[in-house]
């Protein structure tokens, strides 16, 4: 076993992103949440910092780092705004599909602008009929006269206003009668394509989530990622690793927020002449919050490190995602308890932390879905 | 005979009043030294002679005057060598500079030429039992005070921000001027040339002279509230002041109204602060105020500990009430 520590470069990256987050994100996070405003103006800035293209190779305009570094970026931003965290993480999600499954031409065409943050990326899989029932989706793609024609409706899509959208659709059935999926790149402004209703979310506000409408949307034949039939694999790869890593990183950010807010409050709040941090009952809560944070952090960075080492990490991301989202809910509730009446006052961010943590559970598969994945893996991996 | 010198900054035909504060302190320090001690001022400028009398009245027994058209605008490459030569000739024991924009550059420059030490931004000066100058200087934004001595080299130099020491009472006196021959100096050929000096007219009462100061912190929240502070200040013949973030946010007009370790030090009769958290670097600039009242919605704000009175209240409402009651 090697000692687990971040490299000097990773520590410097964390410092750099933290400085950015403290200057540009922290002061406005509460307002974005209140107004449900997505700060698109920060994407070009994040582009300059290399955050958008953190794991995209340099030849496509990225920084050429990996998924540990990506998790660092998302954690630091989500420490102050989990809403911006998920907008960024979804941007990465769509980009990862293009990077992993796109042709050289597709990568050269789309990735540089997405890295620069002059364009926003999204990934649309979920439909009203269900998110996790991949093959049951109703959106169709039909090849007509050398063009793909897409029809259908996607829902709960974060970044549904994106410029570059990766969209899954049924292209046909295989020999056993099961739906075959394709993944397509659809650009904003394509006739018949556009965002539908926008949801009013409990948490992760400041990211835009809603429907994507496809009505006789015609795109060039070359806009398919991989080939017809690869859509399931592409969607699963993005969500299963990049998506769950992102959600886990968001919650690790929330957890660190809980630790820092709890410590600040416990040290500053004076009751009966001394700070409440001197009280054992408060110390127990602090210990619990800290432990939740450290555990979630270890799981996340372990899984991300595995992915960077090109090892299969889907179960690890499921574990990290399951644990960190639930831990963020528990820890933000504990932080609220510790703060007494102040906890529910919106001038303190902890109420937002709790809402953001709760809203993180369904993205990338609910806790129940993660449990099924974890159980499935465990039952086969630990078979005597 | 021991000698204590004060640099008198004369800019735009105006003597900076920190020189008078320093002369007052110099007299006090002289009293702590055994034997005869002379307090003198060093004055450079063009047509600066008119400032000699006031320097004498505040305690300068001698005024070393270097007068030349070339010295009209401050230039360290002209000023520093004149002062350095003067020091080498007269060998003063103590040399005090105001930590103004000019003094903060000139003091260390002269010290480097003389290879002696400067205690920077002193908040107190005293003479110890060995008859050495002991300077108290703040560090870590004023959180820590440390003593600085300059035991082996002379002069023992120190810089002091305006407003730290109290200016004494003048006594009628004729100045004893020692004129320096600076006919030979010229800017021509120097690698550094001062082109202009521009100063804004100060409207109303200058912050350092105000008896009542209304001060705003980041908690003000908006420019409108800053304007309310200005209104209150005008109503009472006082001044409005602020902390660093208020300048950074662009609510207040600039650093000239900023109080703290990197801004001004003030000692008004009364100080009323709104939305100030109580960070040490601000407190250091206002701690000598006669009365300190703080309003902050956060009842845990550190500022209350250093206030005579405080209210955990909505500053918007208190500001409006004050304006209503005073107009």
């Amino acid at each position: 076993m090697q000692f687990f520590e971040f490299t000097e470069d990773q520590e410097l990256l964390r410092k750099a992103v933290r400085e950015f987050a403290e200057a540009e994100v922290a002061p406005k996070a509460a307002e974005w949440d209140e107004k449900d405003y997505c700060p698109m103006e920060l994407f070009p800035m994040m582009g300059e910092l290399g955050i958008n293209g953190i794991f995209t190779p340099e030849e496509y305009g990225g920084a050429g780092m990996g998924h540990v570094e990506r998790a660092i970026c998302i954690e630091e931003i989500s420490r102050y705004s989990a809403g911006l965290g998920i907008a960024l993480m979804t941007h990465h999600l769509g980009m990862s599909s293009i990077l992993d499954f796109g042709t050289e031409e597709q990568k050269k065409k789309y990735l540089p602008e997405l890295c620069a943050g002059t364009k926003l990326c999204g990934l649309a899989v979920t439909e009203p009929g269900g998110g996790s029932d991949f093959s049951g989706q109703k959106t169709t793609a039909e090849l007509v006269d050398g063009q793909w024609v897409l029809n259908g409706r996607k829902c709960f899509i974060t970044n549904h206003h994106a410029d570059v959208n990766v969209i899954t659709a049924v292209t046909g059935v295989d020999e056993r009668g099961r739906n075959q999926l394709g993944a397509f790149i659809v650009e904003k402004g394509t006739p018949g394509f556009g965002p539908g209703r926008k949801e009013n979310k409990l948490g992760l506000r400041g990211s835009v989530t809603g429907d994507v409408i496809l009505n006789e949307v015609k795109i060039p034949e070359g806009n398919i990622l991989g080939k017809a039939g690869d859509g399931g694999k592409i969607g699963m790869a993005a969500i299963g690793e990049v998506g769950r890593a992102g959600m886990s990183a968001i919650c690790v950010g929330i957890l660190r927020g809980c630790v820092e807010e709890a410590v600040k409050f416990a040290n500053e709040r004076i009751v009966y002449g001394k700070p409440i941090s001197k009280l054992q009952a408060v110390q127990f809560e602090i210990a619990n919050i800290r432990t939740e944070y450290e555990a979630a952090k270890m799981l996340l960075y372990y899984a991300a490190g595995k992915k960077d080492a090109k090892l299969p990490a889907t179960p690890d991301f499921a574990i990290a995602k399951y644990y960190s989202t639930e831990a963020a809910v528990r820890a933000s509730k504990r932080t609220m308890d510790l703060m007494g009446g102040y906890g529910i006052i919106n001038e303190y961010p902890v109420g937002r932390f709790l809402r953001d943590a709760l809203a993180s559970i369904p993205s990338g598969g609910t806790s129940h879905i993660q449990q099924l994945i974890i159980a499935g893996n465990t039952l086969s991996a630990f078979k005597a | 005979m021991k000698k204590i010198w004060v640099f008198a900054e004369y800019v735009n035909c105006t003597l900076d009043r920190v020189a008078l504060e320093l002369l007052t302190k110099a007299k006090e320090l002289a009293a702590g030294l055994s034997g005869e001690t002379e307090v003198a001022a060093v004055l450079l400028g063009s047509r600066a002679r008119s400032a000699c009398k006031v320097l004498a009245e505040y305690g300068a027994e001698k005024i070393y005057l270097a007068e030349s058209e070339e010295l009209g605008l401050y230039n360290p490459m002209l000023y520093a060598p004149i002062i350095t030569n003067l020091v080498k000739r007269e060998d003063p024991d103590i040399f005090l500079f105001g930590a103004t924009a000019i003094g903060s550059e000139l003091g260390p420059t002269v010290a480097a030429q003389l290879k002696t030490g400067v205690a920077a931004h002193c908040v107190d000066l005293r003479i110890n039992e060995k008859e050495q100058l002991v300077a108290n200087v703040p560090s870590f934004g004023g959180k820590i005070l440390g003593e600085i001595l300059c035991p082996d080299t002379r002069p023992q130099m120190a810089s002091v921000k305006p407003g730290i020491f109290v200016q004494g009472e003048p006594e009628e006196k004729e100045p004893n001027i020692i004129e320096e021959d600076v006919r030979g100096i010229k800017t021509e050929g120097l690698p550094l040339k001062a082109i202009t000096l521009e100063k804004k007219e100060i409207v109303g009462v200058p912050l350092e002279k105000a008896e009542i100061v209304f001060c705003g912190g980041y908690g003000l929240g908006c420019k409108e509230n800053w304007e309310k502070l200005e209104k209150l200040a005008t109503m009472l013949g006082g001044a409005a002041a602020c902390t660093r973030p208020v300048v950074d946010e662009g609510w207040a007009p600039g650093e000239h109204v900023m109080v703290g370790t990197s801004g001004k030090s003030i000692r008004p009769k009364a100080y009323v602060g709104f939305g100030i958290s109580g960070a040490t670097h601000h407190i250091c600039g206002m701690k000598d105020s006669g009365l300190i009242i703080s309003i902050n919605k956060d009842d845990k704000a550190a500022v209350f500990e250093v206030s005579d009175a405080g209210a955990a209240a909505d500053l918007n409402k208190v500001l409006d009430q004050l304006i209503a009651k005073l107009s």
Partner: protein, 282 residues
Amino acid sequence: MALKIVVCIKPVPDPDYYDKVSIDPVTKRITREGIPTIINPVDKNGIEAALKLKAQYGGKVTVLTMAPPNATENLKEALAMGADEAVLLSDRAFGGADTLATSYTLAKGIEKLEEYDIIFCGTESADGATAQVSSQLGEWLGIPHLWNVYNIEAQSEESFKVKTKVENGFMEWEIKLPCLLGVARELNKPRFISAMGIIKAKNKPVTVWGKEDLEAEEERLGLGGSPTKAGAIFTPDLKRKGEMLTGTAEEIAETIIEKLRAAGVNIPTKGEGCSIEGGAQG
């Protein structure tokens, strides 16, 4: 023209934590445990100024610091911002230096770099805040120097037009190269570090020089070369009674006015039929 630019930086304890600095009652030393060391904030404005000039005229930016060995971390950060090379002056003999000995050591480091056109320093360090090193460094090097610079305009290869802050105004200067500029925070907004910058910094050189590498007079270095000596340290006691006022905003405002009046502030009494009283007070 290609400019050779040197930026002097200082690693300092992060000023955001200064309220946590205290004096250990036993050892009588300043405790700064757990406070991260960062590049002195205004020194980053110096780095930014250098990078801007380089972008405009080409050349090379060298960052220089005198600090303990772990300062390579801060130098790496400067390299990640975009500086080309870094030099760390580090030796036990440099320890305990005041501003005169510090500026002397920096000058010796710069002289070893051979050529330079411009040197940038921050106006002051956040921890000691003496604001003296930049002017004294200029003196040791024997070049023109200005402090509190908030505007720089390159005129030609030989001279710059520069503005410095003075109380309620500014001075404008013409300064010939080589020169030293002590820059103020208003000069610019330092850039954030980018991930790409971190990767590029990997291949940039960090040189460490000790006493032996510099042509320095031993007696001018460190504590021994410092004319000033530190005496006792203490924390100022600023506590006041902190009486808390309660009631409505109106009641609070009334109490404040009463207290101001009691403190000797001239407060005109409100109009209506009180002109005599008002006159007496006003």
